[in-house]
């Protein structure tokens, strides 16, 4: 009976998590941002031609906008695009899938960690549940942001490692090394986190490795070998360097420079060393790092609009007491587990702290599921602490109601308000613009919105205004432009900072090329000379999201 209940509970939590990740997938948020479109088109290009938008055959690093995207997400996206076509649903499908599967691995990992304790199962179930309803994880599972796949690999890898340690089976360690290394091919943040965390895992399992020294060497070699492919690829490391906060040197060191000059001028030379750039960098790093524990960021505001639901933070406010209790009791009752999880917890923000725009919920996603495990452990203590049966039941009901309140609030804000409040942050309107242009070209007029207005086709150019950023990739994506043809014409290698074209579609600073009858598509109204406003681009609800002008 108990076993059946356990299975039912497991399935119920799993489906709740799956529902939250798959419901209206591709519709909430209601448009793809440029990175998502880029993942999608590159995957489509791989599917059709085996090459990326630049014509590189099966690359391990996708140049995309010059940010050299990691390969796992692109390849993971090939099958969904094959099955469901090139659309928002299929582009986001891998994350929803791996995000949902992560729920299972949170259970397995926590269960393995607390093995042999009487409360192993309850902590595992609660962690799994809190993870399944986590606003932070749901946010990224429903969009094509590669961090979710990275976290998935880490969860699987760590679980395999712990499992192998318990069962004393060799192949688990090989599989663990594979998945742990794979995470680095999924997301940049893991490149720093995973190698450092593996050191902690090895120390955790030191007794086992002392008995099996050969195995340790093989595990280490495998891990290094699997990681070497990206390590030796200078392009990926260059991307890492370009976003480091030290790249904003001028801004960062402006005031310290003045201060050190003041000290030298006033004869207090000794103090000038404290306005040194190394100290400023250390301070900036610490500021970024500690920012990851800022309750305001975690529970109330979040960071970028694309990283949280409108008016909701990354974690539930009600979790605060349980997280604190969990941290306290884990540290005093389960010292070894606390050290391992604490190590994970303290390492997780490091990658994000080295770069500009910190804290960033996506780069810090690897802090999950520690928050949830702490919360679960704290929750167990609540149940344990209250002895009187009636009081226990009453307080549990009360807490459950508060959780329910925040959960419903979150679901409401995310599913109903993301599309209205944050549409512009998801580059809403780009799709409509491309489709409007497509309609113009197909029938010679954009009949749905501007009946009777005829455009000459064939000879006329279509220029996307510069206020559509990276418009070319949206154009390729939404016209389902044939990748083979695109690559044959030079692919994305032809992109310049000035003006370039894909067939009759022009991008960048091309205004001087326009002549009579050409079409200009823009997000904002313009009073450019020689342009006559022709029609508004509207979305399904009739809102104006762009404008079509005609050169006269």
């Amino acid at each position: 009976m108990k076993k059946i209940l356990t299975i039912i509970l497991f399935i119920a939590i799993f489906f709740l998590g799956a529902f939250l990740r798959f419901y209206d997938l591709g519709k909430v948020p209601n448009s793809l941002d440029w990175d998502e479109v880029s993942w999608g088109y590159n995957a489509y290009s791989i599917l059709q031609t085996g090459k990326d938008e630049y014509g590189a055959a099966l690359p391990l690093s996708f140049k995309a906008f010059g940010d050299y995207k990691q390969p796992v997400y692109v390849y993971a996206d090939v099958i969904p695009i094959k099955l469901f076509g090139l659309n928002a649903f299929s582009v986001r499908f891998p994350n929803a899938l791996f995000g949902t599967l992560s729920i299972i691995f949170v259970f397995l990992l926590v269960y393995e960690l607390f093995r042999k304790r009487p409360y192993a199962r309850s902590v595992a179930f609660l962690s799994m549940f809190f993870f399944a309803i986590s606003p932070w994880h749901i946010q990224f599972s429903r969009v094509a942001f590669e961090s979710v796949v990275g976290l998935f690999s880490v969860l699987v890898g760590v679980w395999l490692f712990l499992r192998g340690h318990y069962l004393e089976k060799k192949w688990y360690f090989f599989a663990a090394a594979f998945f742990l290394a794979l995470s680095a091919y999924s997301y940049h943040a893991e490149k720093l986190f995973v190698p450092l965390f593996v050191v902690g895992l090895v120390i955790f399992a030191k007794d086992y490795f002392l008995k099996h020294k050969k195995l340790f060497v093989i595990f280490g070699l495998c891990f290094v070998l699997f990681n070497s492919l990206w390590l030796l690829d200078s392009r990926t490391t260059a991307r890492g360097q370009s976003v480091l906060f030290t790249s904003e040197q001028t801004q960062l060191l402006k005031i310290p420079l003045i201060e050190s000059q003041q000290d030298i001028a006033s004869g207090q030379k000794i103090f000038a060393i404290f306005h040194n750039r190394r100290i400023i960098y250390a301070e900036t790093f610490l500021e970024n790092y500690l920012g990851h524990f800022n309750p305001n960021w975690l529970f109330i505001q979040g960071d970028l609009e694309r990283h949280h639901a409108p008016g909701f933070g990354l974690l539930y406010v009600i979790s605060i007491p349980f997280i604190l209790m969990g941290a306290y009791f884990l540290f005093s009752n389960e010292r070894v587990i606390a050290l391992l999880l604490g190590y994970w917890f303290l390492l997780a923000p490091i990658s994000g702290s080295l770069v500009t725009g910190s804290p960033n919920a996506e780069r810090a996603l690897i802090m999950l599921p520690i928050w949830q495990i702490l919360e679960a452990f704290g929750f167990i203590q609540l149940i344990k602490v209250i002895n009187k049966k009636l009081l226990k039941k009453l307080s549990l009901i009360l807490v459950a109601l508060v959780y329910l309140f925040f959960f419903v609030l979150y679901v409401n804000l995310y599913f109903l308000h993301t599309n209205t409040d944050y549409a512009k942050y998801w580059q809403y309107g780009y799709e409509q613009a491309v489709r409007a242009v497509g309609a113009v070209r197909a029938v010679g007029k954009y009949s749905a919105i501007a009946s009777g207005k005829n455009y000459e086709t064939g000879s006329n150019k279509i220029l996307f205004a510069e206020n559509y950023e990276q418009a070319y990739i949206f154009y390729l994506f939404y016209t389902q432009y044939d990748p083979a043809k695109y690559i044959a014409d030079g692919g994305s290698n032809r992109i310049t900072k000035t003006c370039f074209n894909i067939g009759d579609a022009y991008f960048g600073k091309c205004l001087n090329l326009l002549s009579k009858g050409d079409i200009y598509v823009t997000q904002q109204e313009t009073d450019l000379k020689g342009m006559q406003k022709d029609t508004n681009i509207r979305d399904k609800n009739g809102n104006v999201v762009g404008y079509i002008y005609k050169h006269i």
Partner: protein
């Protein structure tokens, strides 16, 4: 101080450890300190502009008490070490504390007044004294509202007697219940500095740098201590 927090960085581990100790200690005193710590920000949380270091000053001793608890814990913990290591730890920690305190004091005394003179309304005194010395030459002294509540500086540095202020001050009240002084005698406090009604009159303008149109003749510029312009004094 804008480039450092309200507490020393080395207090952070002590605070965490102290909080842990305090909870573990489970005495009435712990509950007292924790309650104090949690209740202190309530008043400030209901106000605008939070967190605000001044309004949560009632906090301050709780942080120090908790950190002291942590330090006590660390000292107890170090008791297990050999005397030599213990001494080395004390020296190491002592040096960190000494250096950070000295650096914080240096920053406070040497750089804070210069870098943030604007946040302490530097320039008002100089501007008011100048206007006072020259006021007889003009019909109107137009003072900018850009830096907030100029009238009180005019009253203070201008040594205007309360009697005169009561007689000549023109005052309104805004939606939040704050008083807004529009003028005192020939001193007028303006949001938009230059007004059409000024034509034909001799006006001394005391404005922020971006408020002075090219048509005016600039007489004097008063800078903040970091050399950025604070007030530009001009006439028509």
């Amino acid at each position: 101080m804008q480039d450092s927090g309200e507490l020393y960085l080395w207090e952070l581990p002590l605070l965490l450890f102290g909080a842990y100790m305090l909870i573990k200690y489970k005495k009435r005193e712990s509950a007292f300190i924790i309650a104090w710590f949690l209740l202190a920000p309530i008043a400030a949380a209901t106000a605008r502009e939070t967190p605000h270091a001044l309004r949560s000053e009632t906090y301050i001793p709780t942080y120090e008490i908790i950190a002291a608890f942590g330090a006590l814990g660390v000292i107890t913990f170090l008791g297990k070490f050999k005397p030599l290591y213990r001494k080395l730890c004390y020296i190491f920690f002592g040096v960190i504390v000494l250096v950070t305190v000295v650096v914080a004091a240096h920053n406070y005394f040497a750089h804070f007044p210069i870098q943030y003179s604007g946040d302490w309304q530097y320039g008002y005194k100089q501007a008011v004294l100048y206007a006072k010395a020259e006021e007889n030459k003009y019909d109107i002294v137009a003072f900018t509202q850009e830096y907030g509540r100029p009238y009180i500086y005019v009253l203070f540095y201008g040594n205007v007697s309360p009697q005169v202020y009561w007689e000549k001050g023109v005052v309104t009240r805004d939606q939040f219940g704050f008083y807004n002084v529009l003028s005192i005698g020939k001193y007028q406090f303006r949001n938009s500095l230059v007004q059409p009604s000024d034509t034909g009159k001799r006006v001394l303008y005391v404005g922020a740098p971006d408020q002075i149109p090219n048509s005016l003749r600039i007489i004097k510029t008063i800078n903040f201590l970091n050399d950025k312009p604070a007030f530009v004094i001009a006439t028509n």
